[in-house]
């Protein structure tokens, strides 16, 4: 079976979806294929740009955009240096798409939010969905952490104890915890979120919470308030309680990342993008530095896809975009080179603050996101590389994964949109 398209995007993560949204908006025929569902559904649902100060990694960065400008000057190998020209534009585009789909993302006056996690730590992020955007915790007059008996992996007491230790709250700020019951059983976050879409269940939760509310208290809940990106559960709960209600970041499966993924998929399909998940690209034909077709399989059936532009958004080692064996790493579809250096690939400590070297491995690109070799020569002219495929960033430490994905995906979509007939 053969398919023909203007722009082929391989990968359904954040950068692939951004590329699809932008290229489709520019009128291109876009096909997005992916082996499985992208990792954005496993993310916090927030868009991190840059977390900490370049010179002092213990200090939260106050102005991520300015910090990225400085980063690009001192580290021109960082992916941000390839997308700096569109960074702000890409964020505006992202926010417009979210807004139009009824899932607004909020910034914190140009700085970083400091949002509580399920462990009671505070993580910096640039854009947050309205349901997670807790304002300044220093200002609040009370916090109530609410957990559900049905839900594993969320313990209000742990959150409260660590939040107290963090010192972010005022010394006299009351901090209480409460377990509520949403009808019994042992539920996954998705099943609980589905249950909470029933207004009668929310009413029963409200009844259980009300007696414990102190004036001015802010409520922190696990990220289960609503199934879909346009869900009204968090808003309704807040209105019924008369108090602000927020979801905190938690381990996957968590709903905010899934909502972002669903929303972007729904958006690009509405823009006419053909989305084929469960279609694995195994290889490609390249002639005269141009990809003539990619070779895929769907449930065992071979599919050949030809496109004017191919956007490689397959992710890093975990997503299957990069492969490795001892002493060697490569990109899995085009066999693009991945530099490995001579140092150890990983640090001794799993949570090392220096990060792991393997996270920085990836494909080198020029300012048009085309893959280049050691000498800077373009390897394949009609292929662009985005997101976690890119070399040079250490996203778990730098807190820049989704930021790089948004900007590079947008830029690839825009450049693909400019390719003539």
């Amino acid at each position: 079976m053969n398919k023909y398209t203007d722009v082929l995007i391989i990968g359904a993560g954040l950068s692939g979806l951004m590329a699809a949204a932008k290229a489709a908006e520019l009128g291109k025929k876009v096909t997005l294929v992916a082996k499985g569902m992208g990792a954005v559904g496993l993310s916090s649902g927030c868009i991190d740009l840059w977390g900490y100060n370049l010179e002092d990694p213990n200090q939260v960065c106050q102005d991520p955009l300015a910090e990225i400008a400085r980063l690009c000057a001192v580290n021109p190998q960082h992916p941000y240096a390839r997308v700096q020209d569109v960074l702000e534009e890409s964020l505006l585009f992202f926010r417009r798409v979210c807004q139009e789909n009824g899932n607004p993302y909020l910034d914190h006056r140009g700085g970083n939010w400091l949002l509580p996690t399920a462990l009671g730590t505070l993580r910096p992020t640039y854009l947050a969905p309205a349901s997670m955007a807790v304002g300044d915790l220093q200002q609040v007059r009370g916090v109530l952490v609410v957990g559900f008996r049905e839900l594993k992996d969320f313990y209000p007491d742990v959150l409260a104890a660590n939040l107290k230790k963090s010192g972010v709250l005022q010394a006299d700020c009351p901090l209480n915890t409460l377990m509520v019951c949403a009808g019994g059983g042992e539920l996954t976050p998705n099943t609980l979120a589905h249950r909470l879409e029933n207004p009668a269940v929310v009413d029963r939760i409200v009844d259980q919470i009300k007696p414990h509310l102190l004036p001015g208290a802010v409520l922190l809940l696990p990220p289960v308030l609503g199934e879909r990106w346009d869900s009204q559960v968090a808003k309704n709960l807040a209105e019924k309680l008369g108090h602000p209600v927020y979801e905190v970041a938690n381990i996957p499966p968590a709903l905010p990342g899934q909502r972002l993924q669903q929303m972007l998929l729904h958006h690009v399909k509405g823009q006419g993008v053909e989305v084929v998940i469960g279609c694995t690209v195994n290889g490609a034909r390249v002639a005269d530095k141009r990809c003539t077709e990619v070779l895929a399989t769907g449930a065992g059936k071979p599919i050949k896809i030809s496109a004017k532009t191919v956007i490689l958004a397959t992710g890093s080692f975990l997503g299957g975009g990069l492969e490795s064996k001892p002493g060697k790493a490569w990109e899995s579809i085009f066999r693009l080179p991945v530099e490995i250096g001579h140092e150890k690939w990983s640090a001794r400590d799993f949570l090392s603050m220096a990060g792991h070297l393997f996270n920085q491995m990836g494909i080198k690109v020029n300012e048009h996101l085309r893959p280049v070799d050691k000498t800077g020569e373009v390897i394949i002219e009609n292929v662009m590389v985005t997101g976690a495929n890119l070399a040079g960033c250490n996203h778990p430490i730098e807190k820049c994964g989704n930021g790089v994905a948004v900007a590079s995906g947008y830029k690839a979509g825009k450049l693909a949109g400019e390719v003539g007939e």
């Binding site: 082996k35 992208g38 099943t191 499966p253 469960g278």
Partner: protein
């Protein structure tokens, strides 16, 4: 246990993407989830085959887990085998043995299809069937056609294009919706292609979904041998049912280790076949205007084929036709699943998204390739539901293909 199988198990990185996309786990806690029943428990089953969680019966076999898995783990095949193990240990209820034999039900209904249809609509009888057998009284039963597709279809003499096409209609088209098969013949006749038919066994999917793997394996071998014979004689095989298609091409290999490689090239969804003609410049693209707005529902098993929506490109050629994707996920019926008393409510809860999407789009007609999805969408919304082929046949010329 082969080393490949062990490796496949190790590929699961426990990311839970399958759990978060499972339509059943979303609406009920009765199903432990695809990861838990699949790769998690498979480790125990390697040592002790009886380690099957009873909640395996709540899997609909929609194959959403296979589609979304970023690590290529065949979760649904593990679950199908586990259900087979469970049924071979504990037996299947009579109800499941009846529902799984859609071919036998079809043949039995041949004796008096109108009477069967009337009886299926009688409330007291349905309540009795619910009490005695556990078949939901609330679910709409598929109606049997007065004559089967194989009885109705008369190959016409058409100018020879040299193309040999064999059609695998599947039980639903043959016994319940012969108009889909006739629409296929009409569309191919429009392109001067004659369709051959043959008596096949049921693909076996209802058996697989009910854990009756031994019978399914026998049918698989017979079907595959017949199909291979046609392929050897230069035929292309076309299908209109995504579930039959996926079963023949994927399940026979994954569950029964049969060689289905020839089918990957030679068996095509009818719209894939038409797309090939279009790419070769051989498709007759003379279509009448069809001023219709329809919703499109992609069946789970078409999604699982990983080839996209083959009808999309072809339907775009029809002037006046507007197709809006419902994009609402699984309809919830899953073949025999939604007919079971204890699963009816789950099935309807899953299908709620489809209901909402039809309401939101305001469409009065929906198209979908799967006969069971068609039935469920009609049951959920009351709107008319067609196979995309019926729309295409309507655009090919005279005849009334869209009146049900």
């Amino acid at each position: 246990m082969s080393s490949d199988h062990r490796l496949a198990l190790d590929n699961c990185i426990k990311c839970s993407i399958c759990v978060s996309h499972c339509p059943v786990a979303r609406v009920t806690d009765k199903f432990a989830g695809p990861k838990q029943n699949g790769p998690d428990l498979e480790r125990f089953r390697l040592e002790e085959p009886a380690a099957v969680h009873p909640s395996i019966g709540y899997c609909t076999n929609c194959k959403g887990c296979d589609v979304v898995c970023p690590s290529g783990v065949a979760v649904s095949a593990m679950n199908c085998r586990a259900r087979g193990e469970y049924v071979s240990l504990h037996g299947a209820p009579l109800r499941d043995k009846i529902l799984a034999r859609v071919d036998r039900m079809g043949r039995a209904a041949r004796l008096a299809p109108s009477l069967v249809n009337r009886l299926a609509g009688l409330r007291p009888l349905r309540l009795l069937a619910e009490k005695m057998l556990g078949i939901s009284a609330a679910m709409t039963m598929p109606r049997y056609a007065k004559k089967t597709f194989l009885e109705l279809y008369k190959p016409k003499n058409i100018g020879d294009t040299g193309r040999k096409v064999l059609y695998y209609p599947g039980c639903y088209v043959n016994y319940n919706a012969p108009e889909v098969g006739l629409a296929l013949a009409e569309v191919l006749a429009h392109n001067n292609i004659r369709v051959e038919v043959e008596q096949f066994d049921c693909c076996g999917l209802p058996l697989i979904a009910n854990g009756l793997l031994d019978t399914a394996r026998d049918q698989a071998k017979k079907n595959l041998a017949k199909l291979q014979g046609y392929i050897n004689r230069g035929y292309d095989i076309v299908t209109t049912c995504p579930s039959c298609h996926l079963t023949l091409r994927q399940e026979y290999r994954e569950l029964f280790q049969l060689n289905t490689d020839p089918l990957h090239e030679k068996m095509l969804d009818v719209f894939e076949y038409l797309s090939v003609l279009l790419q070769q410049g051989k498709l007759v693209t003379r279509f009448e205007e069809l001023p219709l707005q329809v919703g499109y529902h992609q069946p789970c098993h078409l999604k699982a084929a990983g080839c996209g929506v083959p009808s999309r490109e072809i339907l775009q050629l029809i002037p006046g036709l507007r197709v809006a994707d419902l994009d609402a996920g699984c309809c919830g019926l899953a073949g025999t699943y939604g007919f079971k008393k204890e699963k009816y409510a789950i099935s309807q809860a899953i299908g709620r998204n489809v209901f909402n999407a039809v309401k939101e789009l305001g469409v009065r007609q929906v198209i979908s390739e799967c006969g069971m999805c068609q039935l469920q969408i009609h049951h959920l919304t009351g709107v008319a539901v067609y196979h995309p082929l019926q729309v295409l046949a309507q655009a090919c010329g005279p005849g009334k293909w869209l009146a049900k």
